[in-house]
């Protein structure tokens, strides 16, 4: 690990990928029931080197290299979770999760409900998602909206190292299945301070990353960092933008969103996932139901276009992704409205 230790403050500066790695490592040390299973997590140490060295340290019973079989990775993890373990299943890229859809939606999400709580499913499914790395059709997708509709699932997508640590710990503690999404473009591009020692961040709690008075921006993942940049750029123009990082996609933190919208009276939602039927649609509907007459402008969504994939060539990928400039413009338009 290349993290810099700052003894005096008790915090460590690390990247997102290091935060995932150290949090997993600490969980394996802390709790014998925790194990990691997935494709190339053993000898290879995960394609992003997240589990590098884990096989040597914890052995093949707890760091399980599986066949390339996502339905089984998740299915087996569910069974282990129902019978006393705390599996962390890894889907190598979010794009590979579809064969496991039946196991996640049909089994994991329903385990508690159908057994009236006799059985629970304390498992975490971790997966890198999102584009901006030229992964094209099968290494770039956002999957959150596909699972968003499913009661019984918890979906987390923290964007900073400190939030990753706190929420990954919370996910491992959580007695229900958690889909834990890591935007792969933030893995090495985002760095931040991480408190030492064990802590959790409550699931279902958004974080106001920047306070403001003119426009509320709700986002998550890599987009949250861009939104913060955009908001900071607008400060000098006298536009005050409040940036909320959802962190928890489901459950949704209604209180934080509504408090902010009632203050700024304008809402802009930004996500990389496709717009139609996306996370922003649910947030918009919630705000319309709860706070329509507090709004001074129509809700606006800045989201991925409704095409089935991100193209491979740079102009195609860039056109799919939302640029920080587009965010600045949208925030400015909203503020002027």
């Amino acid at each position: 690990m290349t993290a810099t230790t700052q003894q005096q403050t008790g915090t460590t500066v690390m990247t997102n990928v290091e935060a995932v790695r150290t949090t997993l490592h600490d969980a394996l040390v802390r709790d014998d029931r925790v194990l990691i299973m997935g494709e190339d997590v053993g000898a290879r140490g995960n394609v992003f080197l997240i589990t590098k060295g884990f096989l040597e340290e914890f052995g093949p019973e707890r760091i399980v290299d599986t066949p390339l079989a996502e339905a089984s990775i998740v299915g087996v993890a569910i069974g282990m979770a129902m019978e006393g373990l705390r599996p962390i299943a890894e889907i190598q890229f979010a794009d590979f999760i579809y064969p496991a859809f039946n196991q996640i939606v049909g089994e994991a999400a329903k385990t508690r409900y159908r057994s009236n709580g006799d059985y629970t499913c304390p498992m975490v499914i971790r997966t890198p998602y999102g584009g901006g790395v030229r992964g094209a059709l099968s290494h770039s997708v956002s999957i959150e909206a596909l699972f968003y509709h499913v009661p019984g699932l918890t979906i987390l997508a923290p964007s900073t190292p400190a939030d990753i640590k706190g929420l990954l710990n919370a996910a491992i503690e959580c007695p229900d299945p958690v889909l834990f999404l890591e935007h792969k473009k933030t893995y090495r591009s985002v760095k931040g301070e991480v408190p030492g020692g064990y802590y959790t961040i409550p699931i279902g709690k958004a974080d106001v990353k920047k306070a403001g008075t003119d426009v509320t921006v709700v986002s998550y993942g890599y987009n949250a960092h861009q939104a913060l940049d955009a908001a900071n750029r607008l400060e000098s123009d006298g536009v005050s933008v409040e940036v909320i990082d959802l962190r928890s996609i489901r459950p949704m933190d209604k209180t934080t969103i509504l408090d902010s919208v009632r203050k700024t009276r304008k809402l802009l939602i930004i996500h990389e996932d496709n717009k139609f039927g996306g996370i922003g649609a649910e947030i918009s509907a919630m705000v319309a139901e709860e706070a329509l007459f507090d709004l001074d402008a129509p809700v606006r969504r800045l989201a991925g276009p409704d095409v089935p994939a991100m193209g491979y060539a740079l102009p195609l990928e860039e056109e799919f992704l939302i640029s920080t400039d587009e965010m600045v413009q949208a925030m400015r338009d909203m503020a002027k409205f």
Partner: protein, 362 residues
Amino acid sequence: MAKTLAAPAGARRDLGIALLRMMIRIRVLEEGIEKHFLGGEIPGFAHLSIGQEAVAAGTCANLRRDDAIASTHRGHGHTLAKGTSMRGMVAELFARATGICKGKGGSMHIADFSVGMLGANGVVGGGFGLVAGAALSAVQRKTDQVAVCFFGDGATNRGPFHENLNLCAVWNLPAIFVLENNRYASTTSTAETMKIENVAMRAAGYGMPSAIVDGFDGFAVYDAVGDAVERARSGGGPTFVECKTYRARGHYIGDPERYRQKTEVADVMTASDPIVRMQALLGEALSLGEFERVWAEAREEFADAVAFARSSPAPEKDEAFFGAYTGDREPGNPVHDFEARERDEFLPFAPNVGTGSQGSGH
């Protein structure tokens, strides 16, 4: 396998030279991809099949243009051998508008329906269903086309492998399953993910005949797949061909390959490089001068493809929005205007913004 000590003559010699030429074209293409990937001209991810060329060449030499293949994430060889142009492939990998997928696919998602190449696939095991469907279509349309599925050992641990072997067997479809057993599923040794030595025994469980061949020997692959194609075309149903081969490069370009010894790669390639093997099999039937000329021609072809790619434009950014639905290129198409491009403009209906038609309704 018709392996004799005497140099092949006549049609067999011509076949050997054709297979050698194809293997060399694939090798030159992939060594070039590696170079230009490391040089930064090819973005994203690329997976090389160096060491496995005999499987692509030997299989596709049995196929017609109207036969179908489904490929893998390691599909440069299959694509070239099925008949896609090197220019089209290189331009695609260079992310150009002249690429075979106009820059949308890249290495992992290259497809060329004009030659029956149904696509490389970024997802392991993605091709099984496509091949079963293509084969069923041939039966229902009463043609004698066949469909070939290329896949690796890792894919045989997945559900779709088993489901589609069963389907093709019970429906007696003209499908050929060509396994490239290269000993590694991504970065995990096959020995750690299956208990059997020969995957071909799984075919027996579905009532499908199988063959196991030396996947470094272009003739052996050609002969085994040839028998399978003949059986399929004549209504005899599917066949499973396990080619024992080896992946001489990492899982992807840049793979540090911590999971195997460097000497293992060197040992296998020294003993079995399929190009060296074919040169040896041809013996006196191929002069050194002819051999050198095949290499030189392949290098020229690749250099021409690179020049073509470099001089080609990147796709227009608006191409990102086309291709989701039929008719979405037509101006005024509601899908195009409403779904895809809405984020370009913010035109709320309030009367104090602009004078667009959106404000006139209330």
